[in-house]
Point group: C2
Chain length 198, copies 2
């Protein structure tokens, strides 16, 4: 099936996520999104009647589904997957981006949380859905890899917390080491959760 061109609406959600990743939510204006997406002027009112609030909400949820959607594909591409290798692959995507593009952009979930979770509580359901859309496939993958079900949610939360923080520290230092440290120091521990299977 041929991959269809993204619609102007899809381009705007993607552009919002990209701008939020770089400058935060507060600094990202609706006009910047329209320009970045090369969308027609009236398209915000047309596609996002609630304006910036709706655009940010959809951008953060899109990002959560994007991150979560990668998990089963990453797992399927591994010869001998383990929790530590899954975590390394999650971190590696950021290492590759930072090697390629520099440290320009962080995670839109963290960016939106920092700027808006307190001052704009209407965003909270979208933040929570974005996190769930990312974490649920990690939990499912961990269970598939042999992590006991009662442990899997906490371990997935730890993995995502560590990655989120390492992204911030890498940008602070303009250096990949916090991401490498996460893989090196946390990865082997994650493999200890795998129950010995008969």
């Amino acid at each position: 099936m041929a991959k269809s061109e993204p619609t102007p609406r899809e381009r705007m959600v993607f552009s919002a996520a990209q701008l939020i990743r770089r400058e935060g939510v507060t600094a990202t204006g609706v006009r910047d999104v329209v320009a970045h997406a090369r969308a027609p002027r009236g398209s915000v009112q047309h596609y996002f009647p609630d304006g910036k609030q709706q655009l940010v909400a959809e951008a953060v949820e899109w990002a959560g589904h994007y991150a979560g959607g990668r998990i089963p594909r990453v797992l399927a591409g591994m010869a001998a997957p383990t929790p530590g290798k899954l975590f390394a692959a999650m971190v590696r995507q950021w290492i590759e981006e930072y090697r390629r593009d520099g440290f320009a952009a962080g995670c839109p979930l963290a960016a939106t949380t920092v700027d808006w979770v307190e001052g704009n509580p209407a965003i909270r359901p979208s933040l929570a859905r974005a996190l769930a859309a990312w974490r649920d496939p990690v939990v499912a993958a961990l269970v598939e890899l042999g992590v006991p079900r009662r442990k899997a949610t906490g371990v997935a939360t730890l993995m995502i917390s560590t990655l989120e923080g390492a992204i911030v520290l890498a940008r602070v230092e303009q250096d990949l080491e916090p991401l490498y440290a996460a893989v090196r120091e946390l990865g082997p521990h994650l493999d200890t959760y795998v129950a010995v299977r008969e």
Copy 2:
């Protein structure tokens, strides 16, 4: 020695950090800081000739030194300190704040990074100094507790990354569980770095 009253200058740096923690850097105005600190109107130009840039830089460095300054005190107050217990104490401060005040505020280092590290690169040296002021005492504490020196920086980086991310996730979910998961799932692993001493 009697603890002296904070000066207007100190109050403004503290107020800047508190406002950044809640709303991010972009949304924090110099006027808001003056009002929060109950400082005289002309005091920004007087104390911070470079304006918001200088105020944010000092706020984030103050926060790094505050976090780092707690580490030796926390360690000194423990009967049988271990790396895992040190990490638990670092996380516990956030759990206690969130229990007391709700999830209103995050870490000013993360907030400033997300909003400014790309668009305002002049802030980077202050971000890096803030992180160093926090991490260096953690590294020293880990070495004191028996973590091999060659491992200590990476482990301290992991601890701070995980805490930073767990703060974000706790605010997303308006729930303490990401902080509890960090302590429960990472803490015991941290203790495995302690070399057996003769």
